[in-house]
Amino acid sequence: MQEMGERGGHPKLKELVVEASQALARLDADRLEELALSCQALNRDLAQGDPARRDGDARASLPIECKQAQGDMAVFARVLEATRANLNVMNRLRELRAGRLEYRAGHMAYGESQIQQWRRMESGHGNN
C-alpha cells in the first residue's frame, strides 16, 4: 500500500479499487489478501473515528473520493463477476478431471490386484 498516493493516512479509494481490479485480473491472491486487510483496517478506522480522518478536510474528502472511485468500482464489480464465471468453469473442469481420476482409481485397483497376482506367481518361482 505504500506505493499508493495517500491522504489522511489512507490510500485513495480510487487507487485501491483500481489496484484490486488489476490484482484480480492477475489472480494475485497475496496482493488481494493484503488489500482485503487494508480495507478491513480502513473500515475499522472509519467506524472508530480514525485520528487521521478527524480533521474536517479529511472527513469531507471521503464522499469526494467515493464519487471519484465509482466508475472504477463498477469495473471492479464486472471483473469480479467475470472471475466468478471463470471460477465456475474451472470448478467444472476440476470435477471433469476428478471424474477421470476416479475412473483411473478403479482401473488402478484392477491393476493392483493383478500386480499382487504377479507377485505371488514370481514368489512361487523364487521358491522353486
Binding site: A36, N43, C66, V75, T83, R97
Partner: protein, 473 residues
Amino acid sequence: MGTINSALSIASQALDADQQALNVVANNVANANTPGYTEEKPNWQENSPLNIDGVTIGQGVTETGATSVRDKVLTARLDQQQQLASASGSRLTALDTLQALFTPDSGSSSSMAGDIGSDITSFFDTFSSLEANPTNNSDRQAVLSAAKTLSGDISNAAASLDSQRSALDQEASGVTSQVNSLTSAIAQLNQQIMTTSPNADAGTLEDQRQNDLSQLSKLIGINQITTENNGLAITTTSGALLVSGNSSYQMTTGTVNGVTDFFVGNTDITSKLATGGGSLGGYLTARDTDIPSVLNSLDQLAYGISTEVNTQNNAGTDLDGVTGTTANPLYIFSQPTAVSGSAASMSVVMTDPNKIAAAGAGEGTGDNSNAMTMASLANKTIVNGQTPSNYYSSFVSTLGSTVSEVQSENTAQTASVTQLQTQNDALSGVNLNDEASTLTTFERSYQAASQVFAILNSIMASALNLGEQTTVS
C-alpha cells in the same frame, strides 16, 4: 539364461522408452516459446508379461507416443471470452474517436466539430444583442456569423461521422479475408487430424488448430462443435456454417445501402455478426448502431434549430420592411425537408444581414419584438421536447456514458481473458495436485476480492448515502 536375457531385454526396452520420453521432453523444451504449443507427456504402456510353464516373465515398458496436456473446456471458454473482449475493444476504439469529435478544442487538440454547445449559446445570444440595437448592422452581421459557426460545426461533425463510418466499413471488410484464410486452414488441419489421429489427441496439429481458433475468435463470434474422428465444425454464433470437417465455407461481402454487408452463401449475416463478438462484431456495432445513433441526434438538433429559427424569422419584418412569405421566405438556414440528413446539409443561406427580421410582423423596422422571440428560442423546447442546449448536453452525456460502459465491459473482459490465459498456461503440463493448487489460488483471489468489494461497497454506500448497495456475491 532365460531370466538374464529377459532382464537385458527389459533393460533395453526401458532405455528405448526413456529415449522416446526424452525426445518428448526435448520437444517440449524446444517449443517452450512457440505460441499455442501445448506441452506433451509421454505415454507408457506395460508390455504383457510372458507366462511360460507357470512362470511369469515381465517384458518391461514401451513408450507409445505423446499426449498433449490440453483442456478443451478451458480453451473453449478462453476463446469465448476473447470474442467478447475483442468486440468491446474494437467498439471502444471507435467510440473513443466519436467522443473526441464532440470534445471541445483544448490546447493542441482540435475537434472537427468545434464546440457545438458553445456555438448554440453564442448563436442565440446574438439575438439578445440585436434586441438592444435592432437596426445595428454589426449586430446583424454577428447573428449571421454565429449562425455560420454553428451550422459549420454541425455539418463538419456529420461529415466526420460519415468518414468514421467509412473507415469502420473498410476495417470490417478487411476482416473477411483473414476469416476465410483461417477457416480454410482449420479445414485442412481437420482433414489431417481426422486422418492421422481419429481416436487420440493429435498433438501439434491440434495446437495449430487451437491457435487458428484463437485467432478466429479475435475476429468473429464462433461456436465450436466437436465431431467424429477428432473433427471440428465451426459456425458463427448465429449458426452460419464456416467449417465442417475438411470443408470451409467462405464469407463474402457485398455493398448494401452504401455499406459492406457480409454473407455466407446467399444469407446476409451482417446484423448477427454485429452481436456475435470478435473485432468484426465491435466494428459493425459501432458502424451500424453507435454512429447512426449519434448522427440521428445531430440531425434532430440541426432540424429543430433550423426549422424553428427559420419559421420565426419568416414571421417577422426585416430591415427593409419585408415580411416573409411562402414564395419568398426569410430563411437564415437552409430549410430541411426531413430530419434525416439535416446535420450534413445544415448551412446558412442568408447573405444579406438586413433580411434578419428583428421586428414583429406589421411593426416598424426599429421594432425588436421578433428578435426577442428568436432569442427566447434558446429556452424553448424546440428539439425533441428539450431546449437546444439541454438536448446537446444530454446527447454528449449519453455518448460519454456509453463510452464509459463499454470501457468497463472491455476492462472486465480483458481481465477475464488474462485470468483464463494464466490458468491455461499454469495447467498445461501439471499434475492433478498442481492443478488443485492453481484452483486454490483462483478461489483465494476471488474470496479476497469479494471481501475487498463488499467492504468498499459498504463504505461507499454509507459515504454517498446511496441507500441501495450494489450486490455482487
